[in-house]
């Protein structure tokens, strides 16, 4: 096991080569090769656990210079330190469960081979991101993760909606990545190196302005990947991808990469007060806005998508408040219960054949295991005491309260709404009688087993908070007053939700009338998406065509052709001289001679 820590790149190579094997295997071999897809995540998990075990000693760093030219060279390195170990464990567990779940979920899909290959590549890239010791290596893995998410969201590329969503996801995250790249460039120019450790130590010496700018740039990258306002518009549409993909990428791993980045480069953020404030407020806006939007969604996956955005908002608030360990703790617990909820919704969709909450209902009786695991997950999300969510969310609210009372109040309101919308979803899906066609049935064991494992995580992880905190150097104490308040808030949220949705979906119309104009705006996330699309996406192509036509066609080519016509015109003038009269010709000879004589003799001679 220890060689995994000594040679961290094994965790990257194994899933990558397996992906190649699966892809080569193609459709015929998929029944066999799809199990291979499990081996990758398990290796990652093993590395993570080994890392956790040997957390005390300083980890080995394996690095090779990738772009060398004389003295200045850019290296790519890897090492499994405490933070990396935690992330590896999360990635390992979640991707293993998702692959297991996908075996059932994707059973009859013709392009399975491509699916499993891409998932393997994704886990390899995610591992690369987590264990990288240089900014360039991290950025490379970062973009590869983005590409995998593009290919997976657009997995069913025949569906125009999926293809559009994939393109949108990649481009929006690319906007963040450009900020990230400029941040790296800034650090590379000022600190003279791309190695994370040296940059973190050297950031103290850099002027505050540089540190702030670098932090803001890195935050831009993080916001892009972790779907923070205003770069959150791609996540809801990313639900077009297969549900296991949403669980893996858009709940647990990729979206968490932003939080991981801030944690990894913490000294840079710590050095600039402004960056922390920005993170705090962006986190708050995202948390509150997404929570409100989640209430008004009819598609179960969109509810969870907005919930993820909101929970990430919570994490960024924690980061903004200076407590990155708590943010990582919430990241871990969130990964567990959100993956559970997504897989649960996958199982529900798989059997009920629809994603619309209004066409579900009464599934509790037919799908007991899914229902129970879903309720545990929902409880954790809402923050019901013994479950994981309570502990991590409590930590964040406490940290926020310390940072600024307003932030604390907003978070409390947000967690109230969280409890409300998850109860709504639970009741609409599982309570009452089945409103859709067909006859739903419980999912096979390959799909329910992962649910159970993740449910255990959702329950147990809460207590691991303390040890995790020490591991990462933070403090794990549970603040009694905040704990009581957040428990009460969670319970009231559930109760209000119960009272509304006990009788089924009709409550949605009641809410609509009661909230009036607020309801539809909340439904499409305050029109942010529509606004940005109208401002940037739709006119982009027509603007480009106009620019092409105006500058290239008319201005430059016009000028060139103009010169051509001018020359021909002048030519007509020159040829015009040939009028054919003999005396004119003779006169020209005479004139020429006179001109020459005047020119030569005029100035020269004695």
């Amino acid at each position: 096991m220890s060689i995994l820590v000594q040679q961290p790149w094994i965790a990257v190579l194994v899933p990558a080569t397996l992906a190649f094997v699966i892809a080569l295997g193609g459709r015929r071999a998929v029944p066999l090769t799809r199990w291979l897809a499990l081996v990758g995540p398990l290796t990652v998990l093993a590395t993570g656990v080994a890392g956790l075990a040997g957390a005390g000693s300083d980890p080995a760093i394996v690095s090779v210079s990738w772009l060398a030219q004389g003295a200045r060279s850019i290296a790519v390195g890897a090492s499994v330190d405490a933070l990396a170990a935690v992330m590896l464990t999360v990635v390992g567990v979640v991707s293993a469960m998702v692959v297991l779940f996908s075996v059932g979920y994707m059973a009859e899909d013709p392009a399975q081979a491509r699916y499993f290959a891409l998932v393997s590549v994704f886990s390899a890239a995610m591992t690369g991101l987590v264990i990288s010791t240089t900014l360039v290596g991290l950025f490379a893995a970062w973009e590869l993760v983005g590409a995998c998410s593009y290919l997976l969201i657009g997995f069913w590329y025949r569906k125009p909606a999926a293809a559009n969503a994939a393109m949108k996801a990649f481009i929006v995250t690319r906007i963040g990545d450009v900020g990230f790249l400029l941040g790296i460039a800034l650090l590379w120019a000022n600190a003279g190196t791309a190695d994370i450790a040296t940059v973190n130590t050297a950031v103290g010496t850099l002027p505050v302005a540089v540190a702030t700018l670098a932090a803001l740039m890195l935050f831009a990258g993080a916001a892009g990947k972790s779907a923070q306002f205003p770069l959150h518009i791609w996540l809801p549409e990313a639900m077009e991808g297969p549900t296991p993909v949403s669980a893996l990428i858009h709940a647990a791993t990729m979206v968490a990469a932003g939080v991981f980045l801030v944690a990894r480069m913490w000294p840079v953020f710590a050095a600039s007060e402004i960056a922390l404030q920005v993170m705090l407020w962006v986190g708050l806006i995202t948390a509150l806005g997404a929570a409100m939007a989640a209430i008004a969604q009819r598609d179960i996956k969109r509810v969870l998508a907005y919930s993820t955005i909101s929970q990430l908002g919570f994490m960024f608030v924690a980061l903004g408040a200076g407590q990155w360990q708590i943010a990582i703790f919430h990241l871990v617990t969130h990964a567990a219960f959100k993956a559970l909820l997504f897989l649960g919704s996958g199982s529900v969709i798989h059997s009920a054949g629809t994603q619309d909450l209004h066409e579900m209902g009464g599934l509790g009786r037919v799908m007991p295991v899914t229902m129970v695991t879903w309720v545990l997950g929902a409880g954790a999300l809402a923050g019901i005491p013994p479950l994981a969510g309570f502990f991590s969310k409590d930590g964040i609210i406490h940290a926020a309260w310390v940072a600024s009372p307003v932030a604390g109040a907003v978070l409390v309101l947000a967690s109230l709404m969280t409890a409300f919308y998850i109860t709504r979803a639970t009741l609409l899906a599982f309570a009452g009688d089945f409103r859709g066609q067909g006859h739903p049935h419980e999912s096979p064991w390959t799909m329910t087993l992962p649910l159970m494992v993740l449910a255990a995580g959702a329950v147990g992880l809460g207590f691991a908070g303390g040890s995790l905190a020490e591991l990462l150097g933070g403090h794990g104490a549970l603040e009694p007053v905040v704990a009581i308040v957040s428990a009460l808030v969670a319970l009231t949220g559930v109760a209000v939700g119960w009272s509304f949705y006990r009788r089924g979906p009709s409550a949605d119309t009641v809410l609509e009338t009661r909230l009036g104009a607020v309801y539809p705006t909340a439904a499409n996330a305050f029109g942010v998406d529509a606004l940005l699309t109208r401002l940037f996406v739709r006119p982009a192509r027509s603007f480009a065509e106009k620019v092409y036509d105006a500058i290239d066609r008319r201005l430059i080519d016009g000028a060139v052709n103009g010169v051509g016509k001018l020359a021909v015109g002048a030519g007509r003038l020159a040829a015009g001289l040939q009028t054919g009269q003999i005396d004119l010709a003779a006169a020209m000879v005479g004139a020429g001679i006179v001109f020459l004589t005047a020119l030569v003799i005029g100035w020269g001679g004695r």
């Binding site: 990738w66 893995a141 657009g154 125009p160 393109m167 106009k546």
Partner: protein, 481 residues
Amino acid sequence: MNVLLPIAIPLTGALVVALAGRGESGGARRVSAMFAFATFAVTVYLAFAWNAEGGECIRWVISSAQGLGVLSLAVDGLSLPLVVLTGFLGLIAVLTSWEVHEHAAAHHALLLCLEAAVMTVFLADNVILFYVAWEAVLIPMFFLISVWGHENRRAAAFKFFIYTFAGSALMLVGIITLLVSSPLGSLAGGVTAISADKQTLVFWLLAAGLLVKVPVVPLHTWLPDAHVEAPTAGSIMLAGVLLKMGGYGLLRIALPVAPDAFAAAGPVLAVLGGIGIVYGAILALGQRDLKRLVAYSSVAHMGFMLLAMSTGTRLGIGAAMLIMVSHGVVSGLLFFLVGAIYDRTHTREISRFGGLISQIPVWGGVFVFGALASLGLPGLSGFPGELLSVLEGFGRFGWWIAPIGVGVILGAAYNLYAVRAVAHGEPSAEWQGISDLGVRERLIAASFVVCIVGLGLWPGTVLSVTDAASRVLSMALGGGQ
């Protein structure tokens, strides 16, 4: 002697094909494929020989009479990657023209002539020989476009010729002022800067010719037309190597001869590069013709190359060489794919395509791979060069290069738009029966993919080769450790 081979083999090949191949077209293409392969093999052998000799330049003197400088050929770190690239793309171009039956012999002969001429440009060790080869490239390319091109091929060929010839005319005056002021030794040798007052004049005269070929934005309108009308093989050579002659010329002639002027012109070149990146990306996004879209993407990539070069640091020059080689392979692949689809559907209108990946999955898969490589995905050849260009660019110019971020984003936008419009989405009924890539085409695509991934993972191979040369060049500019 072995420096002459990469030129001699294609030339003799061209002669043999032109004369022997008069008969049915099969013979001509096989003979030319043989010669093209031999040339590629020689370039690879040259690479190893150069390596074995510990990396100084191998020179072969044609005639040592003084006249206008010693006429000789030489290969060194700066020109080796491009020589190997020319060999590789030459072979690919011949293979791509397998289905050309109209005057096949002449077509293949011209392809081999083009390869020989471009090889001479990269191997020339004397300014006059460089200029002669630079112009000589125009003739075969002109005829390739004007005879085997598409709809209004003649206008495009004409425009291509006039643009480049006008630029190179000014370059000739620059070269002559250069020769007159200081009898120039060999190019591959040391740095012979000329007197300070003439440097700016000479630099900008040379730059006029070189920047047209890069191409730099205001002088670029010949590129899309030439690409759209050129036959596939012509496009591959045009994008793959002809565009590199401009950049190579800047590094090989303009920089050593006028280092101070080059350093002073750094910011101007950077601005031109930046405009190229953003403007090229915007226009690529606005295209309705797939080949024109790929052509404008070349403008954007070359913008990065110019930005990297203008930093003047050792890493920057290495990055410029890296971008040149990687763009050669990436755009070669994209043009090959566009050509393949054109042979099947006889149209390049993006709007008429759609959902091709479901009808011809192999082509679709490689096209997505090409698009990802073109937008600079890490692990593929585009990423290292453009990363270094941004890092070094930032190091030298600071926040001034922030706007190229827009170019990077739009880079992703137009590449993915191409994938979305052509490969993804509902398959259109019009292309129901088209066939997927044949064996030959898969071989070509596979060789491109191998190169792109290889360069993406181990960019060190190109950087180490150009290390010595870029050290000398950056030293001349006073920068570079």
